[in-house]
């Protein structure tokens, strides 16, 4: 049977994917560069350390000179990590520490990648309440930046935290929770790595569950007409829009008792490469591009997959990109989306990456972008080897016009004053930060601009 990719290539009059020049930058002198996932952030740290245990981490922080920045998997696009002093990875502080079966809670090392949490929790009859759509992030990094999945009735991952252990700049450990050092806890639940190094986390989980995931390609207008209803009536709902096609797809997930299935999934990485090829060949004619891609997408069948929850949330992202994502009041999503679509489709014919729209329940975390309001997030992307600045500069004013708060780890130009206007507890967070790290050892230039102004 002809594969989907072969069909698409025939429609386009198959051409080889243009090879992009490899970005090869020579390392400076003796210091190797640290880069984030997309390569857009770089620094040359003198010291790159991965402590093997808590005692080593404490010693490192106590004895380090200059700035110390924790690094997770490097999936932030903002300059949260760069320093030419010390970066510290918790990749060796990984795994399950203990479980409380009665409370359905688990204590986890903060360096654990999200993709490595599901199975050990399942072995202990627990599961995360929700997960984002990639699982490469470290737990500490996910919490620090208010990483989220989608679900109108589900909060972001920071809200699943019941207690934390921080290692401070002087090497001391500090325990905090909803009832112990509660102000520090509320500040630390979204902390940008600015308060100390989070070393252990207690997560509130639930009993294991299976999810039935249904992916359906539809005209974008139909998706937009039904988006809010779909969000309200399904456990997890999100949608993607493919620019210049008139089409998108919806992802709906609900808890199920159906048996686990295996079905060929549309490989999103293959999809990204195909969209790039279509852009390369057809950007000269948006109408032809829409005709070809729209025709192809209308042929894609509905995909249904049943899997354990922790196996069904995330997809692999092997095609790197840079991303802007803002979190808007839910009632503003449709208007903002339509304006952003118009900007991209009239000014940026080279864009091929999808938009992603997700729904997140409000919370009460001091620096959470979901604090105090039901939220929709809109994410736009550019291929990692392409200059994103003009496109993001054109879109960002729309996000801000509709009261958006930027994702802490994704590209934005908001200043400290602008951010302070979005967060009622901004000054309280700064006070806690000053208390825990008076010398500013965890502040690189970007974080200094936010918290020392």
């Amino acid at each position: 049977m002809q594969s989907r990719r072969t069909f698409l290539q025939q429609l386009m009059g198959a051409a080889a994917v243009l090879a992009m020049p490899t970005h090869l930058l020579a390392a400076k002198s003796n210091a190797l560069p640290w880069r984030n996932w997309s390569g857009s952030q770089v620094c040359y740290p003198n010291t790159r350390s991965a402590p093997a245990n808590l005692a080593q981490l404490q010693t490192l922080l106590k004895e380090s000179q200059g700035v110390i920045r924790p690094v997770g998997s490097g999936h932030s696009f903002m300059p949260l990590v760069p320093t030419n002093d010390t970066i510290v990875s918790l990749s060796r502080l990984s795994g399950l520490i203990s479980v409380d079966a009665d409370k359905q809670q688990a204590r986890v090392w903060a360096g654990t990648r999200l993709g490595e949490i599901g199975e050990p929790l399942a072995q202990n009859r627990q599961a995360l309440l929700n997960m984002p759509d990639i699982d490469e992030q470290s737990l500490a990094g996910a919490i620090a930046t208010a990483t989220h999945g989608t679900g109108a009735h589900i909060t972001c991952m920071s809200d699943y935290v019941e207690a934390m252990q921080l290692v401070l700049a002087n090497g001391d450990t500090l325990e905090c929770s909803r009832t112990q050092n509660s102000d520090i806890f509320n500040a630390a639940r979204v902390n940008l790595g600015a308060l100390g190094v989070v070393s252990q986390v207690t997560l509130q989980n639930q009993a294991p569950y299976k999810l039935k995931r249904e992916t359906t390609w539809l005209p974008i207008e139909e998706i937009l007409d039904n988006a809010h209803d779909l969000a309200d009536n399904n456990r997890n709902f999100e949608f993607y829009f493919i620019p210049f096609t008139g089409m998108g797809f919806i992802d709906v997930q609900n808890i199920t008792d159906e048996p686990i299935t295996e079905m060929e999934k549309l490989d999103q990485n293959d999809g990204a490469e195909d969209l790039k090829t279509a852009r390369d060949l057809l950007s000269w004619s948006p109408k032809l591009r829409e005709l070809v891609l729209g025709t192809y997408m209308k042929t894609l069948p509905k995909e249904v997959n049943v899997a354990n929850s922790w196996q069904n949330y995330a997809s692999e992202r092997n095609v790197r990109f840079n991303e802007m994502e803002y979190h808007l009041p839910r009632e503003n999503m449709l208007s903002a989306f339509k304006e952003i679509r118009h900007i991209v489709e009239t000014q940026f014919p080279e864009v091929f990456f999808p938009f992603e729209v997700r729904f997140i329940k409000q919370d009460d975390i001091w620096l959470s972008p979901f604090n105090g309001r039901e939220t929709c997030s809109i994410a736009v992307h550019r291929y990692h080897q392409e200059d994103y600045t003009a496109m993001f500069a054109a879109i960002e004013p729309v996000m801000q016009k509709y009261q958006g708060r930027p994702h802490w780890g994704k590209i934005n130009t908001m200043t400290a004053n602008q951010l302070a206007g979005h967060y009622d507890r901004w000054s309280d967070f700064k006070a806690i930060r000053q208390q825990l790290d008076p010398k500013g050892q965890f502040l690189n230039p970007y974080l200094s601009s936010l918290f020392r102004s």
């Binding site: 190797l32 640290w34 880069r35 998997s73 990984s94 990485n269 992202r317 790197r320």
Partner: protein, 116 residues
């Protein structure tokens, strides 16, 4: 008749030998391999192993000598730069944020089954 059967059997066996392991077998093989050096193994288990033992990532599998040869033909320096800067779906440093150049080179040699 028996002679024909034996010849056919040998030709199938020979062609199987020439083809080497199937993709599924190669995945299974890659998942059994580990560096001899305990320190390098510890790094490998929490970084490279996550992608270089899964066919779905597109990364050359550990121990798949033919797949690695096309990469090695680019030169070790190029491969090292690819790890440092990221390449395709591989993030910069392949998730080992603290690795130095010697360790990264040793990991490449191990996965490509090169003498170190």
């Amino acid at each position: 008749m028996l002679r024909i059967f034996i010849l056919l059997f040998l030709s199938v066996l020979l062609s199987a030998c020439e083809q080497g392991p199937s993709p599924e077998e190669m995945v299974a093989i890659s998942q059994t391999l580990a560096p001899d050096d305990p320190q390098l193994n510890e790094i490998y288990q929490r970084s490279c192993q996550n992608c270089h033992t899964l066919a779905s990532t597109g990364a050359p599998l550990t121990g798949d000598i033919s797949a690695w040869q096309t990469r090695l033909d680019k030169g070790k320096n190029t491969l090292l730069e690819n790890v440092i800067n990221g390449f395709g779906g591989m993030p910069p440093f392949g998730l080992c944020m603290e690795c130095n150049a010697d360790q990264l080179t040793a990991l490449i040699d191990f996965m490509a089954q090169q003498p170190n």
